[in-house]
Symmetry: C2
DNA sequence: CTTCCAGGCTAATACAATTAGGCAAATCGT
DNA sequence: ACGATTTGCCTAATTGTATTAGCCTGGAAG
């Protein structure tokens, strides 16, 4: 090995930082190269194309987010687990908007399968065990909850709520209450 | 006037078609120019820059979506209204994935204010009148419902549900039932 | 009929993406 | 220690998108 300046990890991290600063859609080879202190063509020894830059960020984000969500879930159940889990998403999205956007980047099926993506669904499924839903509803509830959390967070992140004065945290608490309520209504057949 | 080949409307429509075909993020000046049968620089007589191409698609999509949602809402109330409204979103997203993605494009505040965007919130607010929620919850519910619908639709559109065999329409019906249930639980104080 | 102008065209520049081939430093076998 | 090899970034060159500047033409107006 010669002097290792660029590694896959450094590259992904640099790209993630760029994403958080200027937005995921503006992650560009030159911006990442500049941040790493190398020339743009040097990147192509480590990635196949510009798309892979974004894929790396997506994988990093899914991983980080899964780790946070898992931490939030640890030792909690029922409503507590739901709130902690959803809060982990929301906090991550606020701290790392570019990475959060990256987590929704469309990966090809094999890559997606190897990513931390499926772990997210598994965690939601685990979370839902606290609500013992009838068997056939499990999958529906995973989709519903995943959609609801992501939808709320992404709308809030996009600034869609700024035109009404209502406090953001209060609305969020209301949404979580409502989700909890809905799931409890659904439970026990 | 000389032969009017490009108009603002044609341009937006062409860009929207490109978006639906190859994805909103790949809407490019040359693709739109090709479709219109003109050379790329000719576009700049009608738009300021490439970003405006996307803005036009976003505005078109918000408008179309608002129209469909309004039609869905007409003459309905309560659960019926909720289902029709949400279905309108989901159907639009399936028929026009590129435009649906465009509807989430971040507009500058003034443009957003003049767009059909605010009408969407108003419609949700109107829809919620069928659930008479206590006053202070109104805004929270708008955010919650908007987020839930958008989140579910965008996750489904991204193919996030394909790894489980469960029927998509059944899951969707479950989600709508659950939303209705949650809102009814919240109603009347 | 001639003048003007809307509306698209060609030419030219800048930046992002990508490929090809070079050069130096670190490594390895002897 | 020493040359062969490999590793890892660099320069140069190509293509495509974004954008500006200035030209050219056909029809509207007088």
């Amino acid at each position: 090995m010669a002097r290792a300046i660029i590694t896959a990890e450094r590259l992904a991290l640099a790209a993630a930082e760029v994403a958080d600063e200027i937005g995921f859609e503006h992650v560009t080879g030159s911006a990442v190269a500049r941040r790493l202190g190398v020339k743009e063509p040097s990147l192509y020894a480590h990635i196949a194309n510009a798309r892979e830059l974004k894929v790396r960020v997506a994988l990093l984000a899914l991983e980080e987010l899964a780790a946070r969500a898992a931490g939030a879930l640890a030792g909690r159940a029922g409503r507590d687990a739901l709130v902690a889990f959803a809060d982990a998403y929301r906090r991550y999205a606020r701290e790392h908007p570019g990475r959060y956007a990256a987590a929704r980047f469309e990966l090809d099926p094999e890559t997606a399968a190897r990513s931390a993506g499926p772990r997210h669904s598994e965690m939601i499924r685990a979370l839902l065990r606290g609500y013992d839903l009838p068997e056939p509803d499990q999958t529906d509830a995973v989709r519903f909850l995943g959609g609801a959390i992501h939808g709320y967070v992404s709308l809030e992140l996009a600034g869609g709520f700024q035109h009404t004065p209502r406090d953001a945290d209060a609305s969020w608490a209301w949404a979580l209450d409502t989700l909890d309520l809905a799931l409890r209504c659904r439970s026990t057949g």
